[in-house]
Amino acid sequence: MSDAALALKNVGKAFGNLEIIRGVSLDIARGERHAIIGPNGAGKTTLFNLISGRFRISSGEILLNDVRIDGLPPHKINRMGLSRSFQITSIFHRLSVFENLRCALLWSMGYRYSFWTPLWLQRELTARTDAMLEDLNLTPRRDTAAGLLSYADQRALEIGMTIAGGASVILLDEPTAGMSNSETDNAVALIRRVSKGKTLLMVEHDMKVVFDLADVITVLVYGQVIASGPPHIVRANPAVQEAYLGALDAA
């Protein structure tokens, strides 16, 4: 087994004849915390959609622990240990916070499509859901409908649902976007805690968060990787600053 938890080989994606991802190759080492940065519209979310199976790739290969996952539906990829969060919060809005997290735990705990198991008797499931709530500081909101949570709480729930199933590779799409400073600090601490021993790939605009968390940074511009490496090297790269800031100014 290679030491890449996730490997992208010359991945391309076109919508019609609009090429959004143009030959991206990336190796994410096991246990690494990897950040993807890039201007708006660079294709970061699209890349996540490709990896997680939401979209089909147009060309190339994606391997999870040396197994090809491109072409598989999202639920199969999830069962193989890759879980993602959404830039635009995607939760079960009419279900309570507790139910949201429990739903995120069900498959990984082997309940499958059971219609004969009474959920209220599942001690371990309940305990793990409650522990999760505690970890996310959402215990006071346990019985609130998820759709009624504050924005920051919804973002925390979004992360919680992503990690609940115990996936070994976690993709977070702008987990701290739109948060206040103190909320961001909380979120960073949370991500640091829950990503221990796991492989983390995250898209993030907040440079403080990026340099705080990431072992490796990849810069994506117009669907292409223009630099990838440890933070201090990427930061010093003049081409990166040029392209990244230039594109930002243009936007």
Partner: protein, 427 residues
Amino acid sequence: MTASRFWQISIWILVLALAIAAPWAFYNYHTGRQSGFVISMLSQMGMMSILALSYNMLLGQAGLFSLCHATFFGIGGYATIHFLNMASAGSLPLPMELIPLLSGLSGLGLAIVLGYIATKQRATAFAMITLGIGELMVTSALMFQHFFGGEGGVNTNRMIGRSLFGLTYAQGIQVYYLILAWTLLSALAMFFLTMTPLGRMANASRDNFERVQFVGYDPRMVRFFQFALSGLFAGIGGGLYAITYEIVTFDALAAPLSANALLMAYIGGSASFGGPILGAVLITLLQSGVSLMSNSWLVYVGVLFISMVIFAPSGIMGLVTAHGPIVRGGQLGRLAVPYIRVLVPGILMVAGFVGLVELTSFLTIGAAQGKSLVLFGNKIDVHATLPWLSAAVCLLGGGFWLRLEARSFRRVWEGLMQGLKPQRSVA
């Protein structure tokens, strides 16, 4: 939390007690029997409750808009006619009490086959497929005469002479209690289902089918299992229908009944578990009660449905539960006067509307049937101006008045809600 749980359970027990006692409230000492009309209405309520509850496994719980639910009710009915005939002939050694189980399995079997196709899609495409399935079934019913009996349907005699309790089921009251028992059993089972992994994931895929995939579930399979199980219960309902009427025709299978299932679940309230039962009871009352008095009962059902969709999309149960915070805050009394103030113009408006509908109906259908409109013992001339004018004035005047009152009602309501809102913690 526990207090509301206590009330919920109390209400369920009360409803059950009412259902058990209801036939005896209409006991006729001259004939020594319960009213046949009431018994058959109550029986209808039971099987329609099962139909509506099972439909709500799709609509309310899984967000699936099915237009062919009667298919599974109907197949349960047709199959049960044949089971009963087999039982009478001695080739099916099963007591009457267990026959509905087979009806359910018939519904399940067909729902597995058709659900496999329908659940490939969701949302609008799913609705379209189910519409097609419904049509297909009606056509099949015409084609396969052996099973469906063609236009005339199939019939049976329910006195198969085999019962766990030595009952003959010659009287409607015995059949009613059989229906009640199966309704209770089915409702409990469907309630149990809402608290299983499948039930929860059905809710989840209703709220956000896409996210379901990213927690490891195939939303298609969730839809499939939910669809199949709802077919099981619909089949039980159909079985009870066959046992009650001893004849099954297209009516038990065709689109109008599917639409009825939708109406009942929606009007009762698809967001709560018990809502569809309420809807089933109400629609059955309209169907058997109002239809005796008026040719236009379907108009009333239709208008009720449209008003619910516009003004109370969460159904009657939704309206009731919306009062929860106010009741808990002990403020319900403050709504008494505002309620009376909207009720008066409301009644006026409804009276005007009913007047217009009935006048029209007597002008057309009534005239053809040679009937005349009688109100408080007075014969009303449907060709005179006065009745039309007064009905129109009631409708329009009541409508405008209601609008004004509704506005002030809303102010009171919002004021109460505002006062009851728990203090939000500021992060």
